[in-house]
Amino acid sequence: MTTTAPETVPPREKPTSVPPPKDRGRRGRRAAIRATSVIAALGLWQLLTTIDADLWLKFDRLPSPVEVAEDFVYQLGTPVYYHDLADSLVRIVVGFLLAAVVGVAVGTAVARSRSTSDVVQPLLEIARPIPAIAMVPIAILLFPTNEEGIIFITFIAAFFPVAVSTRHAVRALPVVWEDAVRTMGGSRAKVLWNVVLPGARPGVFSGLSVGMGVAWICVISAEMISGEYGVGYRTWQAYTVVDYPGVLVGMITIGVLGWLTSAGVEVIGRRATRWLPREKGSVA
Protein backbone atom coordinates (compact mmCIF):
# COMPACT_ATOMS: atom_id res chain seq x y z
CA MET A 1 0.00 0.00 0.00
CA THR A 2 1.45 3.31 -0.97
CA THR A 3 0.18 6.82 -0.43
CA THR A 4 1.77 10.12 -1.27
CA ALA A 5 4.36 11.10 1.31
CA PRO A 6 3.29 14.11 3.41
CA GLU A 7 5.44 17.19 3.07
CA THR A 8 6.81 17.04 6.64
CA VAL A 9 8.68 13.82 5.97
CA PRO A 10 12.22 14.52 4.86
CA PRO A 11 12.43 13.91 1.13
CA ARG A 12 13.16 10.31 0.41
CA GLU A 13 14.77 9.16 -2.76
CA LYS A 14 12.14 8.67 -5.41
CA PRO A 15 11.32 5.04 -5.94
CA THR A 16 13.97 4.43 -8.56
CA SER A 17 12.33 4.55 -11.95
CA VAL A 18 15.43 3.02 -13.51
CA PRO A 19 16.99 0.78 -10.87
CA PRO A 20 20.52 -0.51 -11.38
CA PRO A 21 20.41 -3.60 -13.61
CA LYS A 22 21.47 -6.03 -10.90
CA ASP A 23 18.86 -4.69 -8.48
CA ARG A 24 16.17 -4.74 -11.15
CA GLY A 25 16.95 -8.35 -11.97
CA ARG A 26 16.70 -9.42 -8.34
CA ARG A 27 13.47 -7.53 -7.80
CA GLY A 28 11.97 -8.98 -10.97
CA ARG A 29 12.89 -12.51 -9.89
CA ARG A 30 11.32 -12.07 -6.47
CA ALA A 31 8.09 -10.73 -8.01
CA ALA A 32 8.03 -13.72 -10.36
CA ILE A 33 8.47 -16.15 -7.45
CA ARG A 34 5.64 -14.49 -5.53
CA ALA A 35 3.28 -14.60 -8.50
CA THR A 36 4.19 -18.22 -9.22
CA SER A 37 3.41 -19.14 -5.63
CA VAL A 38 -0.12 -17.77 -5.89
CA ILE A 39 -0.72 -19.27 -9.33
CA ALA A 40 0.54 -22.67 -8.17
CA ALA A 41 -1.82 -22.63 -5.17
CA LEU A 42 -4.75 -21.76 -7.42
CA GLY A 43 -3.68 -24.49 -9.87
CA LEU A 44 -3.50 -27.07 -7.09
CA TRP A 45 -6.95 -26.02 -5.88
CA GLN A 46 -8.32 -26.32 -9.43
CA LEU A 47 -6.74 -29.75 -9.84
CA LEU A 48 -7.98 -31.15 -6.52
CA THR A 49 -11.55 -29.95 -7.13
CA THR A 50 -11.83 -31.11 -10.76
CA ILE A 51 -10.62 -34.65 -9.94
CA ASP A 52 -12.82 -34.61 -6.78
CA ALA A 53 -9.85 -35.67 -4.69
CA ASP A 54 -10.59 -37.52 -1.43
CA LEU A 55 -7.41 -37.36 0.63
CA TRP A 56 -9.00 -37.38 4.13
CA LEU A 57 -9.80 -33.75 3.30
CA LYS A 58 -12.64 -34.09 0.78
CA PHE A 59 -12.54 -31.81 -2.26
CA ASP A 60 -15.58 -33.25 -4.03
CA ARG A 61 -17.99 -30.53 -2.99
CA LEU A 62 -15.54 -27.59 -2.85
CA PRO A 63 -16.04 -25.33 -5.86
CA SER A 64 -13.09 -24.78 -8.19
CA PRO A 65 -11.47 -21.37 -8.55
CA VAL A 66 -12.94 -21.07 -12.05
CA GLU A 67 -16.47 -21.67 -10.70
CA VAL A 68 -15.86 -19.13 -7.94
CA ALA A 69 -14.60 -16.56 -10.44
CA GLU A 70 -17.62 -17.13 -12.69
CA ASP A 71 -20.00 -16.75 -9.75
CA PHE A 72 -18.17 -13.60 -8.61
CA VAL A 73 -18.57 -12.00 -12.03
CA TYR A 74 -22.24 -13.00 -12.06
CA GLN A 75 -22.86 -11.59 -8.55
CA LEU A 76 -21.15 -8.31 -9.39
CA GLY A 77 -23.95 -7.81 -11.89
CA THR A 78 -26.76 -8.34 -9.37
CA PRO A 79 -28.19 -5.50 -7.23
CA VAL A 80 -28.46 -7.76 -4.17
CA TYR A 81 -24.66 -8.04 -3.98
CA TYR A 82 -24.38 -4.28 -3.53
CA HIS A 83 -27.30 -4.21 -1.14
CA ASP A 84 -25.48 -6.73 1.08
CA LEU A 85 -22.25 -4.81 0.77
CA ALA A 86 -23.89 -1.52 1.76
CA ASP A 87 -25.71 -3.08 4.73
CA SER A 88 -22.54 -4.61 6.13
CA LEU A 89 -20.58 -1.42 5.60
CA VAL A 90 -23.21 0.73 7.32
CA ARG A 91 -23.22 -1.65 10.30
CA ILE A 92 -19.46 -1.71 10.63
CA VAL A 93 -19.03 2.04 10.14
CA VAL A 94 -21.76 3.04 12.60
CA GLY A 95 -20.72 0.48 15.22
CA PHE A 96 -17.04 1.28 14.83
CA LEU A 97 -17.45 5.07 14.94
CA LEU A 98 -19.61 4.82 18.05
CA ALA A 99 -16.98 2.57 19.62
CA ALA A 100 -14.22 5.00 18.66
CA VAL A 101 -15.94 8.02 20.22
CA VAL A 102 -17.26 6.27 23.34
CA GLY A 103 -14.08 4.20 23.75
CA VAL A 104 -11.80 7.24 23.68
CA ALA A 105 -14.11 9.15 26.03
CA VAL A 106 -14.42 6.31 28.55
CA GLY A 107 -10.73 5.38 28.35
CA THR A 108 -9.68 8.99 28.94
CA ALA A 109 -12.17 9.54 31.77
CA VAL A 110 -11.07 6.36 33.55
CA ALA A 111 -7.41 7.31 33.22
CA ARG A 112 -7.85 10.93 34.29
CA SER A 113 -10.45 10.81 37.05
CA ARG A 114 -10.23 8.60 40.11
CA SER A 115 -13.94 8.76 40.89
CA THR A 116 -14.93 7.85 37.31
CA SER A 117 -12.42 5.05 37.44
CA ASP A 118 -13.97 3.69 40.66
CA VAL A 119 -17.45 3.70 39.14
CA VAL A 120 -16.68 2.50 35.62
CA GLN A 121 -13.60 0.30 35.93
CA PRO A 122 -15.29 -2.63 37.76
CA LEU A 123 -18.07 -2.72 35.18
CA LEU A 124 -15.55 -2.81 32.36
CA GLU A 125 -13.52 -5.54 34.03
CA ILE A 126 -16.64 -7.70 34.43
CA ALA A 127 -17.87 -7.22 30.86
CA ARG A 128 -14.50 -7.36 29.10
CA PRO A 129 -13.80 -11.14 29.26
CA ILE A 130 -17.15 -11.93 27.57
CA PRO A 131 -16.58 -12.11 23.80
CA ALA A 132 -18.91 -9.71 22.01
CA ILE A 133 -20.30 -12.54 19.89
CA ALA A 134 -21.55 -14.29 23.04
CA MET A 135 -23.81 -11.28 23.58
CA VAL A 136 -25.83 -11.95 20.42
CA PRO A 137 -28.78 -13.54 22.30
CA ILE A 138 -28.85 -10.57 24.69
CA ALA A 139 -28.70 -8.16 21.77
CA ILE A 140 -31.69 -9.90 20.17
CA LEU A 141 -33.62 -9.66 23.44
CA LEU A 142 -32.71 -6.05 24.17
CA PHE A 143 -33.02 -4.30 20.85
CA PRO A 144 -36.26 -3.80 18.96
CA THR A 145 -34.73 -4.71 15.59
CA ASN A 146 -31.95 -7.00 14.37
CA GLU A 147 -30.23 -4.05 12.76
CA GLU A 148 -29.66 -2.30 16.08
CA GLY A 149 -28.61 -5.58 17.70
CA ILE A 150 -25.92 -6.15 15.07
CA ILE A 151 -24.64 -2.59 15.44
CA PHE A 152 -24.55 -3.08 19.20
CA ILE A 153 -22.45 -6.25 18.82
CA THR A 154 -20.06 -4.44 16.49
CA PHE A 155 -19.85 -1.54 18.90
CA ILE A 156 -19.10 -3.77 21.90
CA ALA A 157 -16.47 -5.67 19.93
CA ALA A 158 -14.54 -2.53 18.97
CA PHE A 159 -15.20 -0.63 22.18
CA PHE A 160 -12.98 -2.64 24.52
CA PRO A 161 -9.74 -2.53 22.55
CA VAL A 162 -10.22 1.22 21.98
CA ALA A 163 -11.06 2.01 25.62
CA VAL A 164 -8.24 -0.12 27.02
CA SER A 165 -5.57 1.26 24.66
CA THR A 166 -6.74 4.81 25.30
CA ARG A 167 -6.56 4.30 29.05
CA HIS A 168 -3.02 2.92 28.81
CA ALA A 169 -1.92 5.68 26.46
CA VAL A 170 -3.31 8.45 28.68
CA ARG A 171 -1.74 6.96 31.81
CA ALA A 172 1.62 6.65 30.07
CA LEU A 173 1.80 10.32 29.04
CA PRO A 174 4.92 12.07 30.38
CA VAL A 175 3.97 14.34 33.29
CA VAL A 176 6.21 17.08 31.94
CA TRP A 177 3.82 17.93 29.06
CA GLU A 178 0.95 18.44 31.45
CA ASP A 179 3.16 20.43 33.84
CA ALA A 180 4.25 22.65 30.96
CA VAL A 181 0.68 23.52 29.98
CA ARG A 182 -0.38 24.01 33.58
CA THR A 183 2.48 26.42 34.26
CA MET A 184 1.26 28.43 31.26
CA GLY A 185 -1.96 28.86 33.19
CA GLY A 186 -3.79 26.07 31.34
CA SER A 187 -6.95 24.69 32.95
CA ARG A 188 -7.87 21.00 33.16
CA ALA A 189 -9.84 21.37 29.94
CA LYS A 190 -6.85 22.96 28.17
CA VAL A 191 -4.61 20.16 29.39
CA LEU A 192 -7.12 17.61 28.06
CA TRP A 193 -7.37 19.31 24.70
CA ASN A 194 -3.72 20.31 24.19
CA VAL A 195 -1.87 17.46 25.87
CA VAL A 196 -3.94 14.39 26.67
CA LEU A 197 -5.90 13.89 23.46
CA PRO A 198 -3.08 14.61 21.00
CA GLY A 199 -0.48 12.82 23.14
CA ALA A 200 -2.59 9.67 23.42
CA ARG A 201 -3.22 9.44 19.65
CA PRO A 202 -0.61 6.75 18.93
CA GLY A 203 -2.16 4.45 21.55
CA VAL A 204 -5.69 5.31 20.48
CA PHE A 205 -4.94 4.35 16.90
CA SER A 206 -3.39 1.04 17.85
CA GLY A 207 -6.65 0.35 19.72
CA LEU A 208 -8.66 1.41 16.67
CA SER A 209 -6.71 -1.00 14.43
CA VAL A 210 -7.37 -3.91 16.74
CA GLY A 211 -10.96 -2.76 17.15
CA MET A 212 -11.57 -2.73 13.40
CA GLY A 213 -10.36 -6.33 13.10
CA VAL A 214 -12.56 -7.56 15.94
CA ALA A 215 -15.51 -5.54 14.68
CA TRP A 216 -15.44 -7.39 11.34
CA ILE A 217 -15.34 -10.79 13.04
CA CYS A 218 -18.35 -9.81 15.09
CA VAL A 219 -20.42 -8.11 12.40
CA ILE A 220 -20.03 -11.14 10.10
CA SER A 221 -20.86 -13.61 12.88
CA ALA A 222 -23.83 -11.54 14.04
CA GLU A 223 -25.13 -11.34 10.46
CA MET A 224 -24.77 -15.09 10.09
CA ILE A 225 -26.83 -15.62 13.23
CA SER A 226 -29.50 -12.96 12.96
CA GLY A 227 -29.10 -10.82 9.86
CA GLU A 228 -31.33 -9.90 6.99
CA TYR A 229 -29.05 -8.80 4.19
CA GLY A 230 -25.35 -8.28 4.76
CA VAL A 231 -22.29 -10.11 3.46
CA GLY A 232 -22.17 -12.45 6.47
CA TYR A 233 -25.85 -13.29 6.14
CA ARG A 234 -25.48 -13.91 2.37
CA THR A 235 -22.46 -16.16 2.88
CA TRP A 236 -24.23 -18.36 5.42
CA GLN A 237 -27.38 -18.30 3.28
CA ALA A 238 -25.35 -19.56 0.31
CA TYR A 239 -24.05 -22.44 2.45
CA THR A 240 -27.54 -23.49 3.59
CA VAL A 241 -28.84 -23.54 0.01
CA VAL A 242 -25.80 -25.56 -1.16
CA ASP A 243 -24.48 -22.66 -3.28
CA TYR A 244 -20.82 -23.32 -2.48
CA PRO A 245 -19.31 -20.89 -5.02
CA GLY A 246 -21.48 -18.22 -3.33
CA VAL A 247 -19.83 -19.04 0.02
CA LEU A 248 -16.39 -18.46 -1.48
CA VAL A 249 -17.50 -15.21 -3.11
CA GLY A 250 -18.78 -14.06 0.29
CA MET A 251 -15.49 -14.98 1.94
CA ILE A 252 -13.49 -13.05 -0.63
CA THR A 253 -15.79 -10.04 -0.30
CA ILE A 254 -15.37 -10.05 3.49
CA GLY A 255 -11.60 -10.28 3.09
CA VAL A 256 -11.46 -7.32 0.72
CA LEU A 257 -13.74 -5.19 2.91
CA GLY A 258 -11.70 -6.02 6.02
CA TRP A 259 -8.49 -5.14 4.27
CA LEU A 260 -9.85 -1.84 2.92
CA THR A 261 -11.23 -0.66 6.26
CA SER A 262 -8.07 -1.65 8.16
CA ALA A 263 -5.98 0.16 5.59
CA GLY A 264 -8.20 3.22 6.04
CA VAL A 265 -7.65 3.22 9.80
CA GLU A 266 -3.92 2.76 9.24
CA VAL A 267 -3.66 5.69 6.82
CA ILE A 268 -5.63 8.05 9.07
CA GLY A 269 -3.56 6.90 12.05
CA ARG A 270 -0.29 7.64 10.30
CA ARG A 271 -1.51 11.08 9.30
CA ALA A 272 -2.57 11.81 12.87
CA THR A 273 0.79 10.72 14.33
CA ARG A 274 3.23 12.18 11.81
CA TRP A 275 5.28 13.56 14.67
CA LEU A 276 6.35 10.13 15.83
CA PRO A 277 9.86 9.07 14.87
CA ARG A 278 9.58 6.43 12.16
CA GLU A 279 11.92 3.97 10.63
CA LYS A 280 13.69 5.31 7.59
CA GLY A 281 11.96 4.52 4.35
CA SER A 282 8.64 3.58 5.92
CA VAL A 283 5.61 4.85 4.07
CA ALA A 284 3.88 7.66 5.89
Partner: protein, 245 residues
Amino acid sequence: MTLWVEDLYAGYGRTTVLNGLELEVGEREIVVVVGPSGCGKSTLLRVLAGLLPAKGGRLLVGGVPVTGTSPDRALVFQDDGLLPWRSVVRNVELPLKIRGVPRQPRRERAESWIDRVGLAGYERHLPRELSGGMRQRVQLARTLAGTPRIVLADEPFGALDAQTRVAMQRLLVDVWRAHPTTVVFVTHDVDEALYLGDRVAVLGRDGTLAAVVQSPEPRETGAANGKARAEILAAMAEPAGERAA
Protein backbone atom coordinates in the same frame (compact mmCIF):
# COMPACT_ATOMS: atom_id res chain seq x y z
CA MET B 1 8.03 40.20 41.07
CA THR B 2 9.49 39.08 44.39
CA LEU B 3 9.48 35.63 45.93
CA TRP B 4 9.28 35.03 49.65
CA VAL B 5 9.73 31.51 51.04
CA GLU B 6 9.36 31.07 54.78
CA ASP B 7 9.72 27.85 56.79
CA LEU B 8 8.69 25.79 53.74
CA TYR B 9 7.95 22.07 54.07
CA ALA B 10 7.25 20.01 50.96
CA GLY B 11 7.56 16.48 49.62
CA TYR B 12 5.76 13.58 48.02
CA GLY B 13 3.45 11.25 49.96
CA ARG B 14 4.86 10.76 53.43
CA THR B 15 8.41 11.78 52.64
CA THR B 16 9.39 15.37 53.20
CA VAL B 17 12.18 16.72 51.02
CA LEU B 18 12.16 20.37 52.07
CA ASN B 19 12.34 20.91 55.83
CA GLY B 20 11.80 24.50 56.79
CA LEU B 21 13.43 26.23 53.84
CA GLU B 22 13.90 30.01 53.88
CA LEU B 23 14.59 31.92 50.68
CA GLU B 24 14.02 35.40 49.38
CA VAL B 25 14.35 36.49 45.76
CA GLY B 26 14.21 40.15 44.84
CA GLU B 27 12.66 41.88 41.88
CA ARG B 28 14.60 41.10 38.67
CA GLU B 29 17.16 39.11 40.60
CA ILE B 30 18.65 35.85 39.37
CA VAL B 31 19.03 33.36 42.20
CA VAL B 32 20.64 30.05 41.33
CA VAL B 33 19.88 27.04 43.51
CA VAL B 34 22.57 24.36 43.75
CA GLY B 35 22.86 21.30 45.93
CA PRO B 36 23.58 17.57 45.91
CA SER B 37 21.15 15.44 43.92
CA GLY B 38 18.05 14.47 45.84
CA CYS B 39 18.20 17.54 48.08
CA GLY B 40 14.92 18.90 46.76
CA LYS B 41 15.95 21.44 44.11
CA SER B 42 13.31 20.25 41.67
CA THR B 43 10.74 19.92 44.44
CA LEU B 44 11.36 23.54 45.37
CA LEU B 45 10.72 24.65 41.78
CA ARG B 46 7.54 22.58 41.56
CA VAL B 47 6.28 24.22 44.74
CA LEU B 48 7.19 27.69 43.46
CA ALA B 49 5.42 26.93 40.16
CA GLY B 50 2.33 25.86 42.07
CA LEU B 51 2.41 22.30 40.70
CA LEU B 52 3.01 20.79 44.15
CA PRO B 53 1.22 22.14 47.22
CA ALA B 54 3.47 22.94 50.19
CA LYS B 55 2.98 20.89 53.36
CA GLY B 56 3.72 23.82 55.58
CA GLY B 57 5.22 27.28 55.75
CA ARG B 58 4.54 30.36 53.68
CA LEU B 59 5.15 31.06 50.03
CA LEU B 60 4.42 34.56 48.77
CA VAL B 61 4.80 35.74 45.19
CA GLY B 62 4.60 39.50 44.89
CA GLY B 63 3.22 39.46 48.42
CA VAL B 64 0.35 37.07 47.53
CA PRO B 65 0.19 33.44 48.74
CA VAL B 66 0.55 30.81 46.00
CA THR B 67 -2.50 28.60 45.56
CA GLY B 68 -1.83 27.01 42.17
CA THR B 69 -0.13 27.44 38.83
CA SER B 70 -0.14 30.77 37.06
CA PRO B 71 1.14 32.10 33.74
CA ASP B 72 3.09 34.63 35.86
CA ARG B 73 5.41 31.80 36.91
CA ALA B 74 6.75 29.84 33.96
CA LEU B 75 8.74 26.64 34.35
CA VAL B 76 11.55 25.62 31.96
CA PHE B 77 12.26 21.90 31.91
CA GLN B 78 15.50 20.02 31.46
CA ASP B 79 14.35 18.14 28.39
CA ASP B 80 11.26 17.07 26.47
CA GLY B 81 9.18 19.97 27.71
CA LEU B 82 8.04 20.67 24.14
CA LEU B 83 4.92 19.02 22.78
CA PRO B 84 6.32 16.73 20.06
CA TRP B 85 3.30 16.97 17.77
CA ARG B 86 3.42 20.77 17.58
CA SER B 87 5.84 22.51 15.25
CA VAL B 88 8.34 25.00 16.69
CA VAL B 89 6.07 27.98 16.04
CA ARG B 90 3.00 26.24 17.41
CA ASN B 91 4.91 25.29 20.57
CA VAL B 92 5.98 28.89 21.08
CA GLU B 93 2.42 30.07 20.45
CA LEU B 94 0.96 27.75 23.06
CA PRO B 95 1.10 30.05 26.13
CA LEU B 96 -0.46 32.82 24.03
CA LYS B 97 -3.15 30.51 22.71
CA ILE B 98 -3.99 29.37 26.25
CA ARG B 99 -4.34 32.99 27.24
CA GLY B 100 -6.70 33.60 24.33
CA VAL B 101 -4.48 35.84 22.18
CA PRO B 102 -5.99 35.92 18.65
CA ARG B 103 -4.26 34.01 15.88
CA GLN B 104 -2.57 36.86 14.02
CA PRO B 105 -0.79 38.67 16.91
CA ARG B 106 -0.02 35.31 18.45
CA ARG B 107 1.80 34.16 15.32
CA GLU B 108 3.71 37.45 15.04
CA ARG B 109 4.88 37.38 18.64
CA ALA B 110 5.90 33.72 18.42
CA GLU B 111 7.88 34.36 15.26
CA SER B 112 9.66 37.33 16.79
CA TRP B 113 10.71 35.21 19.80
CA ILE B 114 11.89 32.39 17.54
CA ASP B 115 13.97 34.95 15.70
CA ARG B 116 15.40 36.29 18.96
CA VAL B 117 16.65 32.85 20.07
CA GLY B 118 18.26 32.41 16.65
CA LEU B 119 15.93 29.84 15.16
CA ALA B 120 14.40 31.84 12.29
CA GLY B 121 13.73 29.44 9.44
CA TYR B 122 12.92 26.53 11.76
CA GLU B 123 9.32 27.58 12.49
CA ARG B 124 7.73 24.60 10.76
CA HIS B 125 10.10 21.96 12.14
CA LEU B 126 8.98 19.38 14.65
CA PRO B 127 10.95 19.10 17.91
CA ARG B 128 12.34 15.69 16.94
CA GLU B 129 13.98 17.27 13.90
CA LEU B 130 16.04 19.61 16.11
CA SER B 131 19.15 19.08 18.24
CA GLY B 132 18.97 19.20 22.04
CA GLY B 133 20.35 22.74 22.14
CA MET B 134 17.85 23.96 19.54
CA ARG B 135 14.99 22.38 21.47
CA GLN B 136 16.08 24.27 24.58
CA ARG B 137 16.13 27.48 22.56
CA VAL B 138 12.54 26.76 21.56
CA GLN B 139 11.64 26.17 25.19
CA LEU B 140 13.23 29.46 26.12
CA ALA B 141 11.28 31.23 23.36
CA ARG B 142 8.06 29.54 24.46
CA THR B 143 8.62 30.47 28.09
CA LEU B 144 9.36 34.11 27.33
CA ALA B 145 6.56 34.44 24.77
CA GLY B 146 4.19 33.96 27.69
CA THR B 147 5.76 37.09 29.32
CA PRO B 148 6.04 35.54 32.79
CA ARG B 149 7.09 37.72 35.69
CA ILE B 150 9.09 34.91 37.25
CA VAL B 151 11.04 32.31 35.28
CA LEU B 152 11.72 29.03 37.06
CA ALA B 153 14.33 26.86 35.32
CA ASP B 154 15.02 23.24 36.26
CA GLU B 155 18.52 22.40 34.99
CA PRO B 156 17.56 23.60 31.51
CA PHE B 157 21.07 23.15 30.12
CA GLY B 158 21.89 19.99 32.08
CA ALA B 159 21.57 17.64 29.11
CA LEU B 160 23.62 19.76 26.69
CA ASP B 161 27.28 19.41 25.74
CA ALA B 162 29.72 21.96 27.19
CA GLN B 163 29.91 24.22 24.13
CA THR B 164 26.16 24.42 23.57
CA ARG B 165 25.71 25.00 27.28
CA VAL B 166 27.96 28.07 27.22
CA ALA B 167 26.14 29.42 24.17
CA MET B 168 22.80 28.92 25.89
CA GLN B 169 24.01 30.68 29.06
CA ARG B 170 25.08 33.66 26.94
CA LEU B 171 21.71 33.66 25.17
CA LEU B 172 19.85 33.57 28.48
CA VAL B 173 21.87 36.52 29.78
CA ASP B 174 21.27 38.53 26.59
CA VAL B 175 17.55 37.90 26.72
CA TRP B 176 17.42 38.64 30.44
CA ARG B 177 19.21 41.96 29.89
CA ALA B 178 16.65 42.93 27.27
CA HIS B 179 13.68 41.69 29.33
CA PRO B 180 14.71 41.53 32.99
CA THR B 181 12.53 39.22 35.08
CA THR B 182 12.97 37.43 38.38
CA VAL B 183 14.69 34.10 37.77
CA VAL B 184 15.13 31.02 39.97
CA PHE B 185 17.55 28.71 38.19
CA VAL B 186 18.43 25.22 39.38
CA THR B 187 21.70 23.59 38.37
CA HIS B 188 24.40 21.35 39.78
CA ASP B 189 27.11 23.15 37.85
CA VAL B 190 28.82 25.59 40.23
CA ASP B 191 30.45 27.62 37.43
CA GLU B 192 27.09 28.03 35.71
CA ALA B 193 25.62 29.13 39.05
CA LEU B 194 28.28 31.79 39.61
CA TYR B 195 28.08 33.04 36.04
CA LEU B 196 24.29 33.41 35.90
CA GLY B 197 23.30 34.20 39.47
CA ASP B 198 23.37 37.40 41.50
CA ARG B 199 23.29 35.03 44.45
CA VAL B 200 23.77 31.29 44.77
CA ALA B 201 21.60 29.42 47.28
CA VAL B 202 23.04 26.09 48.39
CA LEU B 203 20.49 23.50 49.51
CA GLY B 204 21.69 20.99 52.08
CA ARG B 205 20.97 17.29 52.13
CA ASP B 206 18.47 17.82 54.96
CA GLY B 207 16.27 20.09 52.85
CA THR B 208 17.22 23.40 54.43
CA LEU B 209 19.28 26.29 53.15
CA ALA B 210 22.97 25.51 53.76
CA ALA B 211 24.43 28.79 52.52
CA VAL B 212 23.80 31.80 50.34
CA VAL B 213 26.82 33.05 48.43
CA GLN B 214 27.03 36.37 46.61
CA SER B 215 28.40 35.99 43.10
CA PRO B 216 31.41 38.34 42.84
CA GLU B 217 30.84 39.24 39.18
CA PRO B 218 27.49 38.05 37.96
CA ARG B 219 27.31 37.54 34.17
CA GLU B 220 30.97 38.53 33.72
CA THR B 221 34.05 36.51 32.91
CA GLY B 222 34.26 35.00 36.39
CA ALA B 223 37.96 35.62 37.05
CA ALA B 224 37.20 36.46 40.69
CA ASN B 225 35.00 33.46 41.37
CA GLY B 226 37.61 31.38 43.20
CA LYS B 227 36.63 32.17 46.77
CA ALA B 228 32.87 31.99 46.16
CA ARG B 229 33.36 28.69 44.35
CA ALA B 230 35.20 27.22 47.32
CA GLU B 231 32.49 28.44 49.69
CA ILE B 232 29.73 26.79 47.64
CA LEU B 233 31.60 23.52 47.33
CA ALA B 234 32.27 23.48 51.07
CA ALA B 235 28.59 24.06 51.82
CA MET B 236 27.58 21.32 49.39
CA ALA B 237 30.00 18.84 50.93
CA GLU B 238 28.78 19.41 54.47
CA PRO B 239 26.97 16.37 55.81
CA ALA B 240 23.45 17.02 57.09
CA GLY B 241 23.04 17.90 60.73
CA GLU B 242 26.59 19.06 61.37
CA ARG B 243 25.83 22.66 60.60
CA ALA B 244 25.51 25.06 63.47
CA ALA B 245 21.84 25.90 64.04
